[in-house]
């Protein structure tokens, strides 16, 4: 790999759950061909699944909404961000709460009564960095950084 530049992938896909599996598998296979371990690739796949699922379910107000993902593969880490086109205020509040909860220590994690909301906590556990930015019209960008484990 050319250490001076990352491999950059950009994907824009319809806000439809049908696309999550092909996209997350694409990310895992891309990490595999760039010599990341199968464990790293699988864990990244889990994270991509969760973030894309949130973008579709909570961040797609219009019926023609799309989800944008940009992945950067460095020799020592994998970074990606997912942009959605904005959800309802209650969806955004729920996401903010989930991000805050994700900051708790792993041993404090408890499943919510309704059995939901653990996704971002798992993302946090498996990543070095998770950041959420809210833009105009409640558009959301979630950025995740994972460092290579086998260096």
């Amino acid at each position: 790999m050319d250490d001076k530049r990352p491999y950059i992938f950009k994907i824009t896909f319809p806000s439809d759950l049908d696309y999550i599996a092909p996209v997350r598998k694409f990310v895992a296979e891309t990490l595999a061909v760039t010599k990341f371990s199968p464990k790293f690739a699988y864990r990244s796949e889990v994270i991509v699944d969760e973030i894309c699922h949130n973008a579709i379910v909570h961040g797609s107000r219009s019926i023609d909404a799309t989800v944008e993902m940009e992945c950067s593969i460095f020799p020592d880490r994998f970074e990606f961000h997912v942009n959605d086109q904005g959800g309802k205020k209650e969806d955004l509040d729920r996401l903010k709460t989930a991000v805050k909860k994700a900051d708790k220590r792993a041993d404090e994690l408890t499943e919510e009564k309704e059995g939901r909301g653990l996704g971002l906590e798992i993302v946090r556990l498996l990543s070095e960095e998770v950041k959420m930015e809210v833009g105009v019209g409640n558009t959301t960008r979630v950025r995740v950084v994972r460092k290579r484990e086998d260096l």
């Binding site: 530049r5 950009k10 824009t12 439809d16 598998k25 694409f26």
Partner: protein, 265 residues
Amino acid sequence: MASVKIQKKPVDLRPDLTMWKIDGALDSDSIGYIHREFESVLETEQNFLIAEMSGVSVVSSAALGQLMGCKQMLVERGGDLVLTGVNLDVKTKLSAMGATKIFKFYNEMRSAINAYHWEVERKSEKLNLSFPSELQFVPPVRQMVSRISRQKGYSPRDSFRIETIVDEVCNNAVEHGSLRDKKNIDITVTIDPKKIELEVINASDPDQTARLKELSKSVSKKAPEAHLDEKRGRGLALIKMLSNDLDITFSSQGTSVHVTKLREE
């Protein structure tokens, strides 16, 4: 008296679509109520109904039969009755009664609306991907496109052919693309229930323009020759054979390959 309540209301994301918000127990006493509510749906031009069932605690076989009748009538009108938000307990029981083979279940309202777009309106969907111009990335790309076509109901045979086309087009884009400026390759996949269209754009190497035009000429012939005595050079012939339309254009921006593949099965 029926211990269930059905509220008919427009879907948030698509106000022209109707949903039933069902709460309570769909038992045998509810059959008449379902029938009356459904008749009011039939009076309109609606042919697609989404039943939101997160508030349903039980579905009896009699009520299930009534819903099947409603579905049948909508299917005959070119639409469908689909179920969303069914809780795990109810879904397990419905599955035991064979309902999962008859009804489509969706976890989210958005998925049900997407199904309407795809199956009733037959709208196309588009995915754009930009990836580095290296051969190692072609297998993940081709597999992703193949998986999308499978996910959208294309047969394994169609999906395999689509995968082969993507593989050939992307390999060509990497091999014949410009080595000077390390621009990404852009692929656009447009899929609908009848066909899939692929557009692959790459930066061209000016030194290879003459060769690329020669390749393009071979494609424009009705039956491009596959040079059987040579080790390579069969890619375009293969794409031509597997697809329904192939068009290659050159410009200062690069090379654009457009392929249309009709769904066969």
